[in-house]
Subunit: 404 residues, 2 copies
């Protein structure tokens, strides 16, 4: 059994790096804070005797040799956060992995297969799209050069940032190979808490569609320009945001739709905006419905731009089909939770995760623990120590099960 | 008759201060650029022999004595611009006034009443609300202390900025007193051009209502948070923007409505926004309809906030009733234009102007010249030299008429 206190203490220590005044954490990918977080976690990996390597994407792997050679059973997640994030999202999966290693070290257990605790670069996608970029490159889903050339919301590129913070490693991308992957994560949604259940055995991950829209209209005087003569890029953006809400409600089921980023220019009270930039995040577990949502949005935006006499440019920031995890792996999570006496339910994931990329190259599953009030990407994100402990004990059991 | 070339050359010189790459000008009130613009215009005032004074609001007055004492006939406007403004808005009224003075100097004409060319601080309201702040303080419509304490969009206050750029003068507010006021301005709208008419005799100015709304919701994960559980401040802002358009169209007539400024936080693709801030600009020549628009907006926002479970804070940034200019003054503008052989029409102003404040203390009127494509608050703002010339000749004639 793992040590709850030690786990919580590591989470809190890592949460100090990029800590925000009211709580929570800002450790956007490949910033100075991310570097400090990396140094902290790599330090712990060394203390625990892991063999640390990192690749050209800045993905980091801590290997614990087994009694036999071969690809390791891997666990892990990410340590980057959104701008106003919590201290659990991603971090739990990495520090939970270290806690499993330390528990095995103390018990003197050496597994047959090697174990590996990894953290992947830029999972959040908050600074650089797409999300899950590090794991996507690791599994060969995105060429390294494309990832390095990706421009972030502040105009900097992944490659320059990796260089600047010195996070670019020399291990070949895709190394180490992986036998199986299990990721422990907070649910980030309300389902486990509402159901009063301790552990989620994640069966699938929603499809994700991220788009960026740029509208170009004509700036003009807010007082003198009749409504019929306007080419208001700000209005186009706001009408799109309102439509996204209606669309998600209309499609229903687990469809969600969000305009999370929006900027208009020149952004002054008495000037009709000539530029607007916004992002649209659409998700559904059902790819057909997700495609329907994308089609309807595209039609709406085209008609809107024509009606308003403005230009629109469209860019796909991320597009991942829904992912179904390996049924045998999901069953192992479920069985381990039950064996430890925890309530468990099968469920989908609303968030994207590195595990969905790893599922392309090996049997993969995820373990969820509850999120208080279903809140995440918020400084008030919270999961109680005993709930964290339950999740890491399930992780320990699943890893042992896979590594023997 | 005035010198067209000299007028255009001064407009272009002043337009160099804060010039933007693609044309146009950024000279927001009380910035370094505004200071440089002030120095340029004050330099010209001295060259033309005007007695220059400025008050504690940074309003600047260039006095040309008459053969008799008493309050001057005043003309003028403003030299601040919006962030992506043109070189005519405001500047024409000030430099047109200087051109009249130079024409009189050359002709050796001394008027009976003194003449005065003024420019007022922060007419645009783009950095500090309300707009027309300097002239509002000059006429006693806003206490000086309140104006000095006003916080701008960048968090700085009017008073500190006035001190920093050294624009705070020692003339008592309200000095010099004024006998009558005439302001020459570009129309900033499409009416004169559409009608093929050279001169607008402005009869009235629309009522202006500027509001700021701040929504506070709960940030959460864009993928995991079901639509029904969201408290999305960004959505509330966008729905308000969409409603403002519908409202303006529904009320019809000359009602306009604009959301020109909008910011959301944390402004990331996969985070439901917890904060949104926007401005609403509503205008109508009919105060009852303007009030109706304000009431409907307030009701919409209240229902929206309640439905979405978010907080809303409301602040009035500016509220001016419609203004009707002195009929005798309007008739003088009309008669002068006709006497010079120009086509002329009576019309309302869609934009706010310093003249609407001066109308509180003296007989006031305005002269409009056409704006190409009705465009203003845009770097492509343009009025042809011969159109500018016509306007300044009308100004010359009206001023002589009033000062004899
Ligand atoms: N788990 C998580 O928050 N991932 C970030 C990517 C996303 O789902 O938006
Ligand atoms: N004339 C002008 O653009 N004034 C600025 C104030 C307004 O928005 O009407």
């Amino acid at each position: 059994r793992i040590n709850r206190q030690r786990l919580v203490s590591r989470l809190e220590q890592l949460g100090q790096i990029g800590a925000l005044p009211g709580g929570g954490c800002c450790r956007l990918a490949l910033t100075e804070e991310d570097l400090l977080g990396r140094e902290q976690v790599i330090g712990w990996m060394h203390e625990l005797g892991l063999e640390v390597s990192s690749d050209a994407m800045g993905n980091v792997f801590g290997l614990r040799p087994g009694t036999e050679p071969g690809p390791p059973v891997m666990t892990g997640s990410h340590i980057d956060t959104v701008r106003t994030g919590g201290i659990y999202d991603g971090n739990l999966g990495v520090l939970g992995g270290l806690e499993v290693v330390e528990t095995l070290n103390e018990a003197g257990i050496v597994t047959q297969r090697p174990l590996c605790v990894a953290f992947f670069t830029n999972e959040e996608g908050a600074r650089f799209a797409p999300d899950m970029m590090g794991s996507l490159v690791y599994v060969g889903g995105m060429p390294l050069e494309d990832a390095l050339a990706t421009e972030g919301i502040d105009g900097e590129r992944v490659g320059e940032c990796l260089e600047r913070i010195g996070a670019r490693g020399d291990a070949p991308v895709g190394n180490p190979e992986v036998h199986a992957f299990v990721e422990l994560h907070i649910e980030q949604g309300p389902i486990l808490e509402e159901s009063g259940i301790a552990i989620g055995a994640v069966e699938k991950v929603q499809g994700i569609s991220w788009q960026e829209l740029r509208f170009t209209g004509t700036s003009n005087h807010a007082g003198t320009t009749p409504m019929r003569l306007r080419h208001d890029a700000g209005y186009a953006a706001m009408a799109t945001g309102t439509f996204v809400r209606e669309l998600a409600n209309r499609i229903g089921g687990d469809q969600v739709g969000t305009v999370g980023a929006l900027e208009i220019q020149p952004n002054l009270v008495n000037v009709v905006a000539n530029q607007a930039h916004l992002t649209v995040d659409l998700r559904n577990t059902d790819n057909e419905r997700l495609k329907q949502a994308e089609t309807e949005l595209a039609a709406f935006v085209e008609q809107l731009a024509e009606r308003e006499g403005i230009e629109v440019k469209h860019r796909t920031l991320a597009r991942f089909d829904p992912v179904t995890f390996d049924p045998d792996m999901v069953a192992r999570v479920e069985a381990s939770a039950k064996a430890l006496g925890h309530s468990v339910m099968r469920m989908p994931s609303g968030a994207g995760h590195d595990a969905q990329m790893l599922a392309r190259v090996c049997p993969t599953a995820m373990i969820f623990v509850p999120s208080a009030d279903g809140i995440s990407h918020n400084i008030n994100e919270y999961t109680a120590p005993e709930e964290l402990e339950a999740g890491v004990n399930v992780l320990l059991r699943v890893l042992l099960d896979l590594a023997e």
